[in-house]
Symmetry: C2
Subunit: 217 residues, 2 copies
DNA sequence: AATATAATTTAGACAAGGCTAAAAATATAA
DNA sequence: TTATATTTTTAGCCTTGTCTAAATTATATT
């Protein structure tokens, strides 16, 4: 079907569209895919020929329906494999990204649906991100950013805006995990740092950290 | 470490060495890897530079210790993934080869050992072939070819010489599986076909088929 | 509006891994 | 032991996906 490189570009474009809600520029895509802008341009031409994206020179790029479907399949595979790695092989949530990055490209008509069944059709991956179903449908949960909470408000840590290994390791160190119940104790107006409380402890997090935490109220 | 292509060549050379017990020729390797002889020659040069094989022009090729170790890791990964696919995802033994062929190239320091642990350290894959341990050690079981049995002798179907999908499908159709207890009822001198009996039924198999069945007495 | 800066694309190159066709080496046979 | 056939290697080319450097287009600034 598609090459690994193609799948990686599709996935990257999809992720950026979700985040930025606009046409994706060559440069941003280059930094996301760890390549150079010129390489991106080359690939965009190929993807455009295959009707996976809409691409007009200098205008940035957008997934077509076909392209989005293809991207969602890759996302589905990635997240199901992450779930497998964490819940069956006992990896930490900060260790699975690179391996899932490889596993997501395994080609098979049937593998991923069998894997899903084996895992009992989980709806969310270890970072709280929704796992698209067979048809690319995603279960969206309404959450608010921790920054939006007022003093005294409570909620449950549902998912992360940034799931980089570094950030995950930070959360590990601070003993914060998905599903933790969080209460805002105080907000420091000077630097917007937030004093929070969980079942087990209290801590102060920076504005930057809080901005990465999405809360289900 | 090694590229997929390199790993595939190493595995192919290993398999052929096991089977033929001599230097492996360019042509044989080409047919095993589904490439052309000229491509094989190119790759052999690269593998020789990396000290994975001993290669003298026109003389065929042999794995070095390092090369054999590398090949055994690939075999280990292939067989553990096959075991996973059959025993966890409920694939048939005739459906897993192509997928395992991809999974065996996933790169990770820790993945395969965790997978092994998860699977409870199986010693044999779904085709009865031994799974090398972490250090490349293989458990060898003494078996004899079904052709060597005399009328009246009994044994257990332990492994297959040819594990191609076609042959596996044949065995499925004839209701023959690993661990089946087999008794030789009669041998037809005219064409060397063999009349056998299992727990559940009797059947006649050709010389060619019998030659692919290894029996533990 | 003209110009400086930033973003993007083009042109040309490279590495990996494959191919075909031709040349060279080895093996087989008369 | 030549002659023929087979096997292997070499030479040169192709595709994919990447890169650098240069050229082009868009954007920002004065």
């Amino acid at each position: 079907m598609f090459s690994q490189a193609e799948e990686n570009y599709l996935k990257a474009i999809y992720a950026l569209e979700e985040k930025l809600q606009k046409n994706i520029s060559t440069n941003i895509l280059a930094s996301k895919t760890q390549t150079k802008a010129s390489s991106v341009t080359d690939m965009l031409k190929k993807l455009a020929i295959k009707q996976l994206i809409t691409y007009k020179k200098y205008q940035g790029v957008q997934l077509t329906k076909t392209g989005k479907d293809a991207a969602l399949i890759v996302v589905r595979k990635h997240r199901l494999w992450e779930y497998f790695l964490v819940n069956k092989l006992n990896y930490g949530w900060d260790e699975v990204h690179d391996i899932a990055e490889q596993l997501e490209h395994i080609k098979s008509e049937t593998l991923i649906d069998r894997l899903e069944k084996f895992l009992k059709s989980p709806k969310f991956d270890p970072h709280g991100d929704p796992i698209p179903d067979k048809d690319g449908k995603i279960m969206r949960i309404k959450t608010v950013n921790l920054l939006e909470l007022k003093v005294g408000q409570k909620g449950v840590l549902d998912n992360l805006k940034d799931s980089s290994d570094e950030f995950l390791k930070y959360l590990n160190k601070k003993n914060l995990a998905l599903r933790d119940r969080i209460k805002v104790i105080d907000i420091e107006p000077f630097d917007n740092s937030i004093h929070i409380e969980t079942k087990t402890h209290q801590l102060v997090i920076s504005k930057k950290v809080a901005g990465n935490l999405n809360i289900k109220i």
